[in-house]
């Protein structure tokens, strides 16, 4: 049974580099069933994400029962995907899919602290689907767009902070503020990742264009 979620959490579009930096998690209320959010460094909250990339490696890292780990690579980094007995369908896809393959994943960010105190972010899949390169390219462009939108909103807020004399029109941006408090990494890094991701897409497309004109 799917509980009638009154407002279903949106699946954010986020590149691996930013996802893996989203180490701070929080709830919006004290209710124990309140959703958990990862704080995106570009200033938004994510309870769910939709990602696409190349599944490059799968491994059963479980002891008694199966626990599958998949590495899913996008132009900016690697998503670490873990699926066990409570995600049987996703675990089955990781077990049965022969890497490399393009996959798209709907899932939830999870954090865990290692012995040396570093916080790692992983992805717990709700579903994994094997997709084609067109879907992967579309995701890259879409994620670039959504990321730039977040960066723009972040920078607009930042500009207002730095020019308080124009105070009254300052757009509030709760999650940008939270991100600046919690993270050191400047948002320009993520803009550079967007550029890198889009450039990679262009590079791949060019030989196709050349072929078409022959």
């Amino acid at each position: 049974m799917s509980q009638a979620e009154l407002t279903r959490e949106v699946a954010r579009r986020v590149f691996a580099s930013e996802f893996n930096d989203s180490t701070y998690t929080f709830k919006e209320s004290d209710d124990e069933r309140a959703p958990n959010y990862a704080l995106l460094p570009t200033g938004d909250r994510a309870n769910r994400v939709f990602v696409t990339g190349t599944l490059t490696e799968t491994e059963d890292v479980g002891d008694e029962s199966e626990y599958w780990r998949g590495r899913v690579v996008d132009p900016t980094g690697t998503f670490f995907v873990y699926a066990g007995q409570y995600q049987p369908e996703a675990a089955a896809v990781l077990r049965d899919t022969e890497p490399p393959a393009y996959v798209s994943i709907v899932g939830k960010p999870r954090t865990y602290e290692t012995d040396d105190g570093t916080v790692n972010v992983s992805l717990r899949p709700e579903s994994i689907a094997v997709v084609d390169d067109a879907t992967r390219d579309r995701w890259v462009v879409e994620t670039a767009e959504r990321t730039l939108d977040r960066i723009e909103a972040f920078e607009a807020w930042e500009a207002e902070q730095e020019a308080p004399e124009s105070g009254s029109t300052a757009p509030t941006n709760e999650y940008a503020e939270m991100a600046r408090e919690r993270y050191d990494s400047p948002v320009v890094n993520y803009r550079n990742d967007v550029i890198q991701a889009l450039e990679q897409l262009e590079d791949v497309e060019e030989p196709d264009d050349a072929e078409a004109t022959v």
Partner: protein, 309 residues
Amino acid sequence: MSDVRQHADDIHEQFSDHLDVDVEDVEERLTTLVDEYKVPMDEARRSVTNHYLEEAGLDREDISSGDSEAANVEDVDEPEEWIDLTAKVIELWDPRSDSVAQVGLLGDPTGTIKFTKWAKSDLPALEEGGVYELRNVVTDEYQGRYSVKLNSTTVIEELDEDLEVGNDTSEVEGALVDMQSGSGLIKRCPEEGCTRVLQNGRCNEHGEGEGEFDLRIKAVVDDGIDAHEVIFDKDATENLTGLSLEEAKEMAMDALDTTIVADEIREDIVGTYYRIEGPTFGRYVLADDVEELDGPIDGEELLIKARSM
């Protein structure tokens, strides 16, 4: 009508509520600038408009920009056009960003279009079901979809009338991220006028019954900003999956299990991008027109934007 006269009329109209001024007076000022001083028309217009603004003690924002034109929703086919719309607020959505004061769907007799109202524009709130004259809104485009943005120069006037909305269709474009329970091969109550879906062979209203097989999909299509619930009826499901009701029944018969149909469909559609058009019923969009977005996509425009940020 001469060109100058047309511009003079436009300007005159903008100030008719604020100033007692003859259109001849406006025309004369324009003519002087254009003919004698060889000023280009748009510069002349600007200058004359400013003159009257000063005379009336107004800001540019207080009058509707002469550049905007009355338009219908269906006419919107270019970004960055300044237009005036008379439209009804069909639906307000939750803004996903604090920089947005209101976001939702506007409709007029020719169709529906998304609107965004920025927080910093400091405009009065629009109400769901209200009909408004919106002067000086600017059109925007994203991947072939159009929207209008209300801005600080927009003039909002509530109208005391109802407006028939031509086509209550929604357009959703995004990834299909989930298929919900109650999808696939289902059984409906055979009682006349009852189309309830049987749960474990029972209708909530009419009790145990044989039931009639049907196909449908309840899915969530998500664009990273909103999650939309979309329903595919039998025809839409058959078109989407290529699986007919008869084939689905056979499949279930062979497996002695109806859930195999849903599993098969899920594997086929989850994780795929679609553009879906259809009427809205409450929070659901009924999928009338479905297109799988599997063509190439161009990121160049975005790349230029990213580099210039």
